[in-house]
Symmetry: C2
Subunit: 316 residues, 2 copies
């Protein structure tokens, strides 16, 4: 697959940070930035931009806050054409935390929002766009949103927001190719002046397959992470996406190399990937939080027990 | 997805046996048979039927030969509606090894064949059908066959074979959803009086997604293995397929339970799954043998080195 407009965004440090409360070591982030830059990936999302007045700074690592000097230290001296991105959550950032683009090393700011928070997302993203950043709105947990609300959110985003990309986010890793197709086609119906993006999760081993479906349907912004790192089951593996995309700007080898050197040792310390409780929350179209909690109990590998605890009994 | 004609075939012991030369312990095979039977899976493929005159019996475990008394010991006393299947390879079995169905515990015999061996496959499968078995022909390595040869093979299989199912086998785990679609549509063009089946490999984390594509396209026989066990990257995970299929005859819980109890400990001893060299052979549409060999060298985790060793240089 080769389409010139396709942009790949690596969110290894940002989504991976959800596993370890953003406590990545500087050396690790530098090695990732080096690999991403050498491989020709378009964007690297280096963390969250949270406000220290809203989120306790001693509970999280520095990649939750992404101070300018922290980013600079991790990236300086490395040759790169990769743009830097940060993500913000509704209610965890204040506009004053984001300085004008001319004073920042950051290129893109992505606003993650549930459908119910679309008005707040538009307010934030327009402020960031006015400050000179590339911007996106990422519609989270779209697999549990009611269709009429998705329609309304997409309509608003097209008409009222200055975001240049609208992302469909399969937060629970519950979508199949046909539901990806349904949602991207819906996206295309409303989003006419912006690009569409897709962010997958790998609960059902469908993150890569669903990303391909999104490409076929016309999404040009694609999220992936090195070795699929990310909360729970993780994300679309960047190395697989690069093997699929035929754009000559990409070189898979630096990504393979950093997996060998940095991600195999890390995987011994923190877990992500195909772990059955995450597959089960995917099947039930639920947030992985119950699986994450279950993995911290003594019966973490009793998969039948977890399945039965998820089965809807006595719900009306 | 619910379609009454869909049949699921578990080939855990047969394909998994390619990792450990078919040396599964009796207890393990019994536990698998118990779980498969309790979960309502239609078929369980319990091994290969190889001829001891052609294959050295001391180099392989008993599941390479599947003597009737061996199968009986592993299955007796377990309540089951699951049919038993064995696979044969061209050149590794003699017709005399297969007794009439009335004298056998086996229900189905599947003939694995490359396109080049279709005539031999038809000769064998017709003999087995005449002996009273359900039969299939599984077209291996279809991703490297030339299109005109696939056409000819399918035409012959429809006209000359007594097999009731023709399988498309993605031996190298190299197919994407669109190439699955292409091959199944081609299959439907020729195969009018038999069912189509699909056997995936998981090199690119697409085994489950591709199996769904095959279902959508009309395949009614679907191979899967518990926890995705199988040579190299493994197969379509049975538990994911059961989560997708809505047929009320299936119960996922015994499969989840046997993963906890038998497959997690086994995975500590033998390896399969998402391991980068297998992803790389998938990208290159090559047999996993080079990756299997590489995994036995001291540089087994130097993925960049392996990728570069696969890159086609000086080939004309």
């Amino acid at each position: 697959m080769y389409r010139e407009k396709i942009k790949v965004l690596d969110c290894t440090i940002r989504d991976g940070g959800l596993i370890n409360d953003h406590f990545f070591e500087d050396k690790f982030v530098r090695e990732v930035y080096k690999a991403i830059s050498a491989s020709g990936v378009d964007y690297m999302e280096i963390g969250y931009k949270a406000s220290k007045s809203l989120m306790s700074a001693d509970k999280f690592g520095k990649w939750k806050f992404c101070d300018e000097d922290v980013i600079k230290r991790a990236t300086e001296g490395i040759e790169s054409n990769t743009k830097l991105s940060v993500m913000v959550d509704i209610g965890r950032v204040e506009k004053d935390d984001i300085k004008p683009k001319k004073d920042s090393i950051i290129d893109m700011i992505r606003v993650a929002a549930y459908v119910k928070d679309i008005d707040k997302a538009i307010d934030l993203v327009n402020d960031f766009a006015d400050k000179g950043y590339e911007t996106t709105v990422n519609i989270m947990s779209i697999s549990t949103a009611i269709e009429s609300e998705i329609d309304e959110a997409l309509d608003q985003l097209e008409k009222e927001s200055k975001a240049s990309v609208i992302y469909i986010v399969d937060s629970f890793g519950s979508l199949y190719a046909d539901t990806v197709d349904f949602l991207v086609e819906k996206g295309k119906k409303y989003i006419k002046t912006k690009e569409l993006g897709f962010h997958a999760h790998n609960n059902l081993q469908l993150a890569f397959g669903n990303t391909i479906q999104a490409i076929i349907d016309g999404c040009n912004y694609l999220d992936a992470t090195i070795y699929g790192i990310g909360r729970g089951a993780g994300n679309c593996p960047l190395e697989l996406l690069m093997g699929f995309l035929k754009n000559p700007k990409f070189d898979i080898r630096p990504v393979l190399d950093v997996i060998s050197k940095e991600f195999l040792p890390l995987r011994e310390k923190i877990e992500w990937g195909y772990i059955i409780p995450y597959a089960i929350t995917g099947m039930f179209n639920e947030h992985p939080r119950s699986a994450i909690a279950f993995r911290k109990t003594p019966s973490k590998d009793d998969y039948k027990k977890f399945f039965e605890s998820m089965s809807p009994i006595e719900v009306e």
